[in-house]
């Protein structure tokens, strides 16, 4: 904390006020209202009717709700785990091999290409992928036919077996560039001499990756894991645009489920219950994760 000489420490508090007011209006009050509404029955207009724990009792036995939460785990796999692992390997390859064997510009080019899906608006990226996976005249099925694998053609987004895996592939494709960009900026920090010393000792790429790269970018890794897991839990766009939760309930996720309750059924009370439950899960996850983060970083020092 730096302080201007002679200034009273409390005199700065007033500068926090605009931010606090914003936080109050945009985050805190709606959050509290949401929690309150989850204890009521409300159609969105008029006065909410207090119903106590009714919504919360309903959520415990609501198969659709639990199915949607189960699917959140798959979303975490598709948005966090797989892109992070792939991103780690790719960024290490890019900065360790491509950058050295070819050029820095080549590595930047690859990084840019991988990042493109992140720049596209999610609706555009999703709809294009929806066209590619169309059963009739979709690019994937046409390519399979052209290379003689016609028997592998599938009704990708229309079948209960394939809708979720395809959705996950689309999410992986969208997400992939994000960890790469973060990790590569982290790797800039690493002293090249470390790698040189390790090479002189006869370490191969994998050995260097495990003993130098990975430990050095732990802070970046933790940030990526936290932000993308929260993103995964909030997945909405691709489900809304591609499958509407179907076929059956195969691709329903909590955000989409609360949306249907809010706006389609206009059971605002129950929609608020679902979104409050989702918020709780995210907050608990973020707190636990922060503890782990502190612990890991302390150990590193």
């Amino acid at each position: 904390m730096s302080r201007l000489p002679g200034a009273h420490p409390n005199s700065f508090n007033i500068y926090l006020l605009p931010g606090l007011i914003g936080l109050l209006i945009i985050i805190i009050i709606p959050l509290l209202a949401n929690v309150y509404i989850s204890f009521t029955s409300w159609r969105g207009v008029g006065m909410p009717r207090w119903t106590g724990l009714t919504n919360w009792a309903r959520i415990l036995h609501d198969q659709d709700f639990w199915a949607s939460f189960g699917h959140s785990l798959l979303m975490i796999l598709a948005v966090t785990i797989i892109p992070t692992i792939l991103g780690l390997l790719t960024s290490s390859l890019l900065s360790d091999v491509i950058q050295k064997k070819f050029s820095g510009r080549m590595a930047s080019l690859f990084r840019g290409i991988f990042y493109i899906p992140q720049i596209l608006p999610i609706a555009v990226a999703t709809i294009i992928m929806g066209w590619i996976f169309r059963p009739e005249k979709g690019a994937v099925n046409e390519v399979l036919k052209a290379i003689g694998l016609g028997s592998m053609q599938r009704n990708w987004l229309g079948s209960s077996t394939w809708a979720m895996p395809v959705l996950m592939i689309i999410l992986i494709w969208i997400q992939f560039g994000y960890p790469i960009v973060i990790f590569m900026s982290g790797l800039e920090r690493v002293d090249p001499e470390l790698y040189e010393a390790a090479s002189l000792d006869g370490a191969n790429w994998w050995r260097k990756f495990c003993t130098i790269t990975l430990p050095e970018i732990i802070p970046e890794l933790l940030v990526v894991l936290l932000t993308s897991t929260i993103g995964a839990l909030k997945t909405f766009g691709p489900v809304y645009l591609l499958t509407k939760g179907g076929p059956g309930r195969q691709t329903i996720v909590p955000s989409y489920y609360s949306y249907t309750q809010f706006f389609q059924v206009q059971q605002v009370g129950y929609g608020a219950t679902i979104s409050t439950a989702l918020t709780l899960v995210i907050v608990v996850f973020a707190i636990v994760f922060s503890f782990i983060q502190n612990h890991v970083e302390k150990n590193q020092d």
């Binding site: 009739e136 009704n155 079948s159 509407k244 939760g245 179907g246 059956g248 206009q266």
Partner: protein, 425 residues
């Protein structure tokens, strides 16, 4: 065609402008979300022109999206920013919901003043009148329909001629036409199960075995719905049989309504069962072959109903002017205009309709409506039934669940959807 009629329509009568109230302001705010290309949207645009000319007042029109009105309509209407005239989706879960939220004006006095019930007659009144619980077919006018729509079968005449297949007039002829196309290696029906087309075909099959009482039980909750009754099993078994026979593509669960539309207009599939709201688009886009449309071959009840209604929100500031506007839209000049634009007017002068195929379509609707055998749509009876039913139908056409399981799931959606509407105590 539409533009030449615009000039003819200038002489319409909207009733005089002896507005009796103390309302101030000369600007009427009107909202609708109908597609720009649709007949009703063209008709209402024309209404604005005629209204402004007749009354000397101004209309401020704002196009909203369907989602805006369906999902946030109640919030707008509850504020002082409510429009004077608003298009609303008809039915229990849309306009009915607004009625229960006390957001719409009772139009009874205006109906009496202008005699609207002499233009909107018989079954055409059902979707404009609601009970205090927001159920269609009540006693209080909350919305006025100004056009109608129904499901029809669109045939590619060139393909029928090429394979020497007669255009069917009965259900048996329809099925044998499907079989003959299949023998020639053509999948006859253009369909999609991700969105409404296949759901609507299923409902038309249900209605073909249904009667008025069935519709009243299902849509107006006058009796219990028996999900094991013949209409449901017949429709479900027929869809299953047609899938097995290859009359419907096996990929149908991955296709959207636009896919089904282009599947017909690009000549891939010779038959498309769809609503008259697509008629205008066929006129514009199906230009490489001759086509015609006929009513569903052999049904007791037909899928369709009057179109979306015009309402006057409770918080509207210019209610008398709003009623004058609605009255304009019901006059013969606008009604004929809607008919020529490819829509179904509620009243019309046959000599004013230029295209004979449109005249057939309008007369078919008139016949059905006067018999009172319109069956509406399957998702109207409960909240959120459209998405739920689509997703189970997808599983059914994939063979992942049986017809019985699908009907059981539908029963669950129906019961929950009716409960969520909060109309039955």
């Amino acid at each position: 065609m539409a533009t030449s009629l615009a000039m003819l329509a200038g002489v319409g009568a909207c009733g005089s402008s002896n507005s009796s109230s103390q309302e101030d302001g000369n600007t009427l705010t009107v909202w609708w979300y109908a597609d720009e290309g649709s007949a009703e949207s063209k008709g209402w645009n024309q209404t604005i022109k005629v209204f402004e000319k007749k009354t000397g007042k101004k209309v401020k029109f704002e196009r909203k999206s369907f989602e805006q009105i369906a999902k946030n309509g109640s919030q707008f209407l509850n504020s002082d920013k409510a429009p004077d005239v608003m298009e609303s989706n008809r039915g229990n879960s849309s306009a009915g919901l607004l009625v229960t939220q006390n957001l719409l004006s009772d139009l009874g006095p205006y109906v009496k003043k202008y005699g609207w019930d002499k233009i909107v007659k018989g079954q055409n009144q059902i979707l404009g009148k609601y009970t205090s619980k927001g159920v269609i077919g009540g006693n209080t006018w909350y919305g006025i329909p100004t056009y109608a729509e129904m499901q029809r079968v669109y045939y590619n005449d060139d393909l029928f001629a090429k394979y020497n297949i007669p255009i069917p007039n009965t259900f048996d002829e329809f099925v044998s036409a499907l079989a003959k196309f299949k023998e020639n290696g053509i999948t006859p029906l253009s369909e999609a199960a991700m969105e409404y087309p296949l759901q609507q075909l299923w409902w038309q099959l249900v209605l073909s075995k249904a009667d008025k009482k069935f519709v009243e039980d299902y849509q107006l909750y006058k009796g219990k719905v028996d999900w094991n009754s013949e209409p449901f099993t017949f429709a479900t078994n027929t869809i299953e049989a047609w899938l097995k026979a290859g009359y419907i593509s096996k990929d149908v669960s991955g296709l959207k309504s636009e896919d089904a539309f282009t599947g017909f207009t690009n000549g891939t599939h010779p038959i498309f069962v769809t609503g008259t709201w697509n008629h205008g688009r066929f006129m514009d886009e199906a230009k490489n072959f001759k086509w015609e449309s006929k009513e569903w071959p052999g049904a007791n009840v037909y899928e369709g109903g009057t179109g979306n209604i015009l309402t006057i929100p409770r918080n509207a500031k210019h209610k008398d002017m709003a009623a004058q506007f609605i009255n304009c839209a019901l006059q013969p000049d606008i009604q004929n205009f809607i008919g020529n634009a490819g829509g179904i007017p509620l009243t019309y002068d046959p000599s004013a309709i230029k295209d004979p195929s449109l005249k057939v379509m309008i007369d078919d609707f008139k016949k059905v409506a006067s018999k009172g055998v319109l069956g509406y749509y399957p998702d109207w009876a409960g909240a959120n039934m459209y998405d739920s039913m689509s997703s189970s139908l997808q599983q059914f056409v994939n063979g992942e669940i049986t017809g019985k399981q699908m009907l059981d799931a539908y029963k669950g959606y129906y019961d929950q959807g009716v409960k969520d509407l909060g109309i039955l105590d």
